[in-house]
Amino acid sequence: MPEFVSVARVSDVSDPGSMLVEVSDRLIVLIHASGHWYALDDVCTHDGGPLSDGPVDPEGGTIACPRHGAKFNIKTGAAETMPATKPTVAHEVKLEGDRVLVRLHDGS
């Protein structure tokens, strides 16, 4: 199983907000919403657009693809609205002091 990798400081991402990070040659959108942290593949499963350019909705618990508006659950990666029908991959996040760490989910 992959190790946790430090990707950012807590202060790097506002709440609500998101940030694009690279983990082991993979693009991940790191999300800060309502005091919690999440990490998803930076890929909209509809047409491959980058989620990191899209708005985070902390109340709905979603991030939207800026291209066609597909929304993904920031916790599970599930596709919640059309036109996406397949989930994007969700990764594990933890905090250590002021560092945010991500562990890739390898079963994507």
Binding site: R26, V43, D47, G48
Partner: protein, 439 residues
């Protein structure tokens, strides 16, 4: 044996040094300088550009690579797949575009005025002959940053020049290899003068299957009136290579081009393949075979441009996808107002071997003439479980059954390639990659 050492970065100083290290005619240096200016002006392709919207290159770091320097460290060349069992009329091989590892042409062809071998060497030796063809610049240097880089700093590559009415009845072979982490800015230039005929088998490969690196290449095929060219291009880079290529063919009146592409390797490939039929009664057949695995991403933009009347083009691309790989095929048939009585077809079939693979298939037509036949088709589907079950009841393992079905899927393309070694090499390379279907 040459190899390339590169200084990271694409600075003006690096380019000046690159240029001064080459003993080339002034007109060629001027072409390079103009392209370098364009390269410096252009930004990296963005995902807001429709052509790049489905191909994510944010992980590609151009400044980790550099310009070919021609320095030598050595390395064992990979085995040439397409040349196996073929009586060749000539062959050429380069490593990292740094120079010719090996080049030969049978005397019987050389004596007829055929030129074949290392492009940088031959362009110096035959500058007056080749200058008009290089100045035509079939591939537009300003198309994007990669085409500009290739136009400015191409190094290595093959030239085939066949004089008028000369028929070469033995295939020629070129191999372009890259070391792990290397840079390949290869350029292939093929010129068949009026009534000439030739077959060129061209392939790219890494020194190690897991190798990485950066390729920004160009291919220019010039088929003059009544000439016939069969061109096979197998892309078999290591699975960490970034592959960007611009490929352009010009087929004049009564000319015939059969162009076959095999795309197996690379981490990410973005290829523009463009065929222009510029004279009456010209014909092009384009075949594509793609097999992807792991997290590979292969993107092919094909363009069949009918500029003259009574021309025919027929494109068939077939892809089989494993793992989490992805293919993007975007095809366009463009028919100019003058190109009446055009007969054009494009087809893309995708065989999905896993539930996590993805194939995007986007055919397109842009027709300005009013008396044409232009059609297209696209299919995507999974392997029929009943076929696998039937094969397994006959004693085959699941993997063997899948391999047979994949071979059958590609057979239609193989049947269009009249060179047995090519069909066999492609079939063998694909067969080695096929695993059992994953859920």
């Amino acid at each position: 044996m040459p190899n390339t050492l590169t200084a990271p970065g694409y600075t003006q100083e690096a380019f000046d040094s690159f240029l001064s290290s080459r003993d080339e005619p002034g007109w060629l240096s001027d072409l390079r300088r103009a392209a370098w200016t364009r390269f410096s002006e252009l930004g990296m392709p963005g995902r807001n550009d429709e052509e790049w919207s489905r191909t994510d290159i944010r992980l590609f770091k151009l400044d980790r690579f550099g310009l070919p320097s021609g320095a030598s460290t050595g390395g064992e060349m990979p085995r040439a797949l397409l040349a196996k069992g073929v009586q060749l009329g000539g062959s050429t091989a380069t490593l990292d575009g740094a120079g010719t590892v090996d080049a030969r042409l049978a005397e019987k062809w050389a004596s007829k005025g055929v030129l074949f071998g290392d492009l940088p060497t031959l362009v110096v030796e035959h500058a007056d002959l080749l200058r008009p063809f290089l100045e035509r610049r079939l591939v537009n240097p300003g198309k994007d940053k990669f085409s500009a880089l290739n136009a400015a700093a191409w190094a290595g590559g093959a030239l085939l020049y066949v004089p008028r009415r000369v028929t070469i009845d033995e295939p020629l072979h070129s191999l372009s290899a890259m070391s792990d982490g290397g840079v390949d800015l290869n350029k292939t230039l093929v010129i068949l003068e009026e009534g000439a005929e030739a077959t060129l088998l061209s392939e790219t490969a890494s020194l190690t299957p897991r190798g990485g690196g950066f390729h920004a290449g160009s291919i220019e095929l010039i088929v003059e009136p009544g000439a016939r060219l069969r061109y096979v291009n197998l892309q078999n880079w290591g699975d960490q290579v970034w592959h960007f290529a611009h490929q352009m063919a010009h087929v004049a009146a009564r000319g015939h081009l059969q162009w076959t592409i095999g795309a197996l390797g690379s981490r990410l490939a973005k290829v523009n393949q463009h065929v222009a039929l510029t004279g009456q009664d010209a014909e092009a057949q384009v075949n594509g075979v793609m097999f992807t695995q792991g997290r590979q991403h292969l993107s092919y933009n094909t363009h069949q441009h009918h500029k003259a009347p009574h021309c025919r083009s027929d494109l068939m691309y077939k892809a089989a996808l494993q793992g989490e790989s992805r293919t993007v095929w975007r095809g366009m048939i463009k028919v100019d107002r003058a190109a009446q009585r055009t007969d054009a077809y494009q087809r893309n079939d995708n065989l999905m071997l896993s539930r996590t693979a993805r194939a995007d298939s986007i055919p397109g037509l842009e027709i300005e003439a009013d008396d044409v036949r232009c059609t297209h088709g696209s299919t995507s589907g999974r392997v029929d479980d009943q076929q696998i079950f039937y094969a397994m009841t006959r004693g085959y393992t699941r993997q063997e059954a899948v391999r047979m079905i994949v071979e059958g899927f590609f057979q239609k393309v193989f049947d269009r390639i009249p060179i047995e070694s090519v069909s066999e090499a492609l079939g063998e390379a694909i067969g080695q990659r096929v695993r059992a279907i994953s859920d």
